[in-house]
């Protein structure tokens, strides 16, 4: 369980990192928190020839609220969100989500952007980013581009990121006070990747739901938005009746993956439960 050999670079600037990425192409891999990449290398399921360690690039270590967005730099660790980083419901959501990612020592290394780049279907940040409509800022040695989260997740562990690109920053929109958020996940053991999770965002006005997003994670090859389920909530008063209908729609809106932990039927059972519970938490 020892990684295969690789060349190691620890550039000090983003430019240097991008130049190395350009030079090494498919053979080069970014090393961020290492909490997904290193285990994969230990099993030799990944054998990158070159590792480009971004941990010494001070300019990527930022996390701040600017105008309408929360800007999360590539070196922002999960732990950063554990005590609410922002006031209000969004800060509380991110803290709740962070608390459910892996374990304390993993959260002190693992990064928000690393999770998005890795795109594990059961990643809490991926599900959160999709639900909240994040934007990715990616750069290669010649240019920078933005990718809407809707275009980001392509398939299992695959994103819109090109081999020569670095995800420098992820942006989460800051929404107004009328939004409520909820998160619930189910796993067998504390800290494990969830068998199913749901992140929900609701805008309440005049006692009814005006806008809604329901994200699901851990149930297919990418995180997904349960659009019909969210649409069914519009105009409804928050409560068990509405949650039940939405949960039912969420449970049937996807092609479940089958693995040693869950049959397709069981995944649907879980989606029904986690969606309902995330909705309950949003208005609790």
């Amino acid at each position: 369980m020892k990684p295969a050999a690789f060349d190691y670079y620890a550039p000090l600037t983003t430019e240097a990192a991008l130049a190395l990425l350009a030079e090494h192409g498919e053979e080069g891999k970014i090393l961020a928190g290492g909490q997904s990449l290193v285990p994969t290398m230990a099993f030799r399921l990944a054998r990158p020839a070159t590792l480009i360690d971004i941990n010494r690039i001070a300019s990527l270590d930022f996390c701040r609220a600017d105008d309408e967005v929360l800007r999360i730099g590539a070196l922002t660790r999960h732990a950063r969100f554990e005590t609410p980083f922002l006031p209000g419901p969004l800060g509380a959501l991110l803290a709740d989500v962070a608390h459910n990612i892996a374990h304390t020592p993993i959260r002190s290394r693992g990064t928000f952007c690393g999770s998005l780049a890795h795109a594990d279907p059961a990643s809490e940040w991926c599900c959160t980013a999709l639900t909240l409509g994040a934007t990715m800022v990616v750069a290669n040695h010649v240019s920078e581009r933005r990718v809407a989260v809707a275009d980001w997740f392509q398939s299992l562990f695959t994103t819109a990121l090109q081999p020569d690109e670095l995800l420098t920053e992820a942006r989460l929109p800051l929404r107004d006070e009328s939004w409520r958020y909820g998160f619930y996940e189910f796993n067998r053991r504390a800290g494990d990747f969830a068998l199913a999770m749901s992140v929900v965002a609701l805008r309440l006005e005049g006692g009814v739901v005006r806008e809604a997003q329901i994200g699901l994670g851990g149930v297919g090859t990418t995180p997904i938005l349960a659009k019909d389920a969210a649409a069914a909530l519009i105009g409804q008063a928050p409560g068990e009746a509405a949650w039940g209908i939405a949960a039912e729609l969420a449970a049937t809106c996807f092609e479940p993956t089958e693995d040693i932990n869950a049959s397709p039927e069981y995944r649907r059972d879980l989606v029904r439960a986690v969606t309902k519970r995330a909705l309950r938490k949003a208005v609790a």
Partner: protein, 775 residues
């Protein structure tokens, strides 16, 4: 001051706490690194195993051809139609399970060894494999070993004549099919060994993470056909074993072979993936159990059929009979079973071999008999506690249907105490309220006994070629007055260094800190068996007590000379020998005995006054007992089980160190909870293993294990000279049944119950899907 009975902090702890323990991997640093190439196929014919074209200098590849002259690992058993199959150190022709070592490479670092292992060119023709126990005995199944055409390696049968009659006349027959899925003991330190050749003496020292160093030495010497005296085996600090580290695994003879052949040091440190797929598995069993009951709930007869999937080979020395035959012998547990019939088969499949795991078959048979009691009670409309009370053995000694003697115990008292502690009426009220709110609470009991500290006669009854049992202790005093007790047993976390020192200190009137327990080194300790089967405290403890008494007698003789009193009047206390008011320090006696033997007139004609003694102890066995109660809440939507409360009433006789005893119960219960709810080794149909990491195989964390409340009873039985009974396995024996019963109780409104372990959330949901609770 008496040391036994005190919660003395352990003598072994400070070094471990400072990070200065010495585990096998710590000792192995600097040795050449061995990596095993493992079979990717569950079954197949080896066409060739070749080195890569450019083998780096200083590296080695060893294949079955190189070690073809070595003996096979072939444990024996003289009864039960046992097929004495052998396991080659490295196979020449066929592979039998995914993960089987098929070659070894050697390089300077572990990374380079792994690189090289990846490059070895393995050509195997895959063949049809069978991994499931039912499939393996179906007609036309692939045959693993020519010696055993039906894939049944061992079969035990017994049928008492009264059985058929009892079933024919029964008011109620309860029949139950049970499944227990495969598990891995998962010590936090995986296996590993370092074999070093000493050029001066020609001997090899093998340091290995093992539970039975003397047995390992015998086994390796046999396989390598080498003088046993040329091998020293050391068990240093061992990071848990739980049975997994008892067996002789092929990796160890290979290391010793390498050390002798290449006159150097060779280390293999197992990684977690290897440990999960290729060390040893346990508890893959299917039972069908039938009970004949009277209307009042009296059990008249029991008939069980046990299938145990023992994997591809038979574990040395105790054989693959260990699971099925234990189930056969001990199924009745603490209950009166007037007529008994049983059939138990060990089935070979293309899977990792089975070895004992804490409790061996007892977690499953307890699950079986305790589900039977609950089901019968339900069917007959009898209170399940009352039904148990009617059937529990209550006068001792009691001879069981399979000829074992149950010594004094507290089966009924423990159950009643547990029921009181659990506040059964209060719970039923809370349960009713919760049910109305759509929440499902349940309570479950498990009453069981644990055969512990059994010596040679018990093992001899199993007719194994090698019969473990006794333990020997060599005790001696140094000239400076410290006591050294050399024990054949080999603890790894059980705290024997402390508890045995407590026992000895009391007999000698000394402090435990002055008593050194020497263990885990075949050069420095007498032949003995090791720490398994909850035997350390009873057997090694008993031997220590006898040895210490003998040494005390010698000290009294020495003091009698020095104090000019008669030996009978000498009292050993507080490090001194007293004759009335006159006293002499024991340390002074030790100095005189060694350096001034002239003053003693050498009483035994040895030319010196000897402060050394040997003692052995080989008891017939004693049964500790316990009752566990689990309170759970089942989330009907997700199938998740939360343990709300866990109570253990434990009777392990006299407790030498209650703190250490509690620790054993805690650890056992946690493993029992793991068996009940979390852990499962899963094979794909082609024999590949799907749970090769700790992200897939799920030992529970501190978040899943509840507070464990322990209440002690202390029934003193004369079957153990120290009064202590073993308790190393009880926790893991009782928990699965208690939890399965609690879940079944919680789910009663749905009309379903638990017959398969682990009761994972997916399995629970599958039971509930499409069902509505009855009011």
């Amino acid at each position: 001051m008496k040391w036994s009975g005190q919660r003395l902090p352990r003598l072994e702890d400070p070094a471990l706490l400072r990070g200065e323990g010495s585990f096998t991997a710590d000792i192995a640093i600097g040795a050449r690194c061995v990596r095993f190439v493992r079979s990717p196929y569950a079954s197949g014919r080896i066409v060739s195993i070749k080195p890569p074209p450019d083998m780096p200098a200083g590296t080695l590849l060893v294949t079955g051809r190189d070690v073809a002259q070595l003996g096979a690992i072939r444990p024996t058993l003289a009864r039960f139609n046992y097929a004495a199959i052998g396991q080659p150190v490295l196979p020449l022709e066929r592979v039998h399970f995914v993960g089987q070592a098929i070659a070894a490479v050697v390089a300077a670092t572990p990374e380079l060894a792994e690189d090289l292992a990846d490059l070895v060119m393995v050509d195997i023709d895959p063949e049809a494999a069978v991994v499931d126990l039912d499939a393996a005995i179906a007609p036309g199944a692939p045959v693993l070993h020519a010696e055993s055409p039906g894939n049944v390696l061992v079969e035990g049968k017994l049928r008492q004549p009264a059985c058929d009659e009892a079933f024919a006349g029964a008011t109620h027959i309860e029949e139950l099919g049970l499944r227990s899925r495969r598990q891995n003991a998962t010590p936090m330190e995986a296996r590993g060994g370092c074999a070093s050749f000493d050029r001066a003496t020609g001997r090899v020292r093998l340091t290995a993470s093992c539970q039975m160093p003397h047995m390992l030495r015998t086994g390796i010497a046999t396989v390598l056909d080498m003088p046993e005296a040329d091998l020293q085996v050391i068990a240093p600090d061992v990071g848990g074993g739980f049975g997994q580290k008892m067996a002789l695994f092929p990796e160890y003879p290979l290391l010793v072979w390498l050390a002798r052949r290449h006159r150097g040091s060779f280390a293999w440190i197992e990684d977690r993936n290897e440990n999960l797929i290729a060390s040893a598995h346990s508890r893959d069993q299917r039972h069908v159990i039938r009970g004949a009951f009277d209307a009042d709930g009296t059990l008249r007869a029991l008939d069980v059929d046990i299938l145990s999937n023992v994997g591809a080979f038979s574990c040395y020395p105790i054989t693959c009979g260990v699971e099925p035959l234990m189930a056969l012998a001990e199924y009745p547990g603490p209950y009166k079973v007037p007529a008994y019939a049983a059939r138990a088969r060990g089935i070979t499949t293309n899977t990792c071999p089975m070895a004992p795991y804490r409790g061996v078959s007892r977690p499953i048979i307890t699950f079986g008999i305790e589900r039977l009691m609950e089901r019968a009670a339900q069917a007959l409309g009898v209170d399940p506690i009352a039904l148990r009370r009617r059937n529990l053995v209550s006068s001792f000694p009691y001879r069981t249907a399979t000829g074992m003697t149950l010594d004094a115990a507290s089966y009924i008292e423990a159950m009643d105490l547990a029921a009181a502690a659990a506040d059964l009426p209060g719970f039923r009220e809370r349960q009713a309220v919760a049910r109305r709110a759509g929440r499902y609470l349940g309570i479950g009991f498990s009453v069981f006994n644990e055969r512990t500290g059994y010596g040679t006669p018990a093992f001899a009854a199993r007719s194994m070629g090698i019969v473990p049992g006794y333990e020997v202790v060599d005790i001696a005093m140094t000239p400076a007055g410290e006591v050294e007790a050399r024990i054949g047993a080999s603890p790894h976390g059980q705290g024997l260094r402390t508890t045995l020192a407590q026992l000895i200190a009391d007999r000698l009137g000394m402090a435990p800190a002055q008593v050194r327990i020497v263990h885990g080194d075949t050069d420095r300790t007498p032949y003995g068996w090791g720490s398994f089967a909850s035997r350390g405290m009873v057997i090694a403890g008993g031997a220590c007590q006898i040895a210490a008494d003998k040494l005390a007698e010698r000290l009294r003789q020495a003091a009698a000379v020095v104090l000019q009193a008669s030996a009978e009047t000498i009292v050993l206390r507080d490090g001194q020998a007293f004759a009335g008011d006159a006293s002499v320090p024991i340390a002074e006696l030790a100095r005189l005995a060694h350096q001034r033997s002239d003053i003693f007139g050498t009483p035994d004609g040895e030319g010196r006054f000897n402060l050394a003694e040997t003692a052995s102890y080989d008891p017939g066995g004693t049964f500790s007992n316990a009752c566990h109660v689990a309170e759970v809440e089942v989330d009907a939507e997700t199938g998740h089980v939360r343990i709300e409360r866990y109570v253990v009433v434990e009777d392990a006789g006299r407790l030498i160190n209650p703190m250490i005893a509690d620790g054993q119960v805690h650890g056992g219960v946690a493993q029992g909870i793991a068996s009940a709810l979390f852990e499962e080794i899963i094979y794909a149909e082609d024999g590949n293993i799907l749970t090769g990491s700790l992200a897939d195989y799920l030992p529970p964390t501190a978040a899943e294990i509840p507070v464990i409340e322990i209440i002690h009873l202390e029934t003193i039985s004369d079957a153990s000279i120290t009064g202590a009974k073993g308790l190393g396995e009880g926790g893991s024996i009782g928990a699965p049944a208690a939890i399965a019963n609690a879940i079944s109780d919680a789910l009663a409104p749905f009309g379903v119950d638990i017959t398969e372990l682990p009761a994972t959330p997916a399995r629970i949901r599958a039971l509930l899907r499409g069902r509505e609770p009855r009011a």
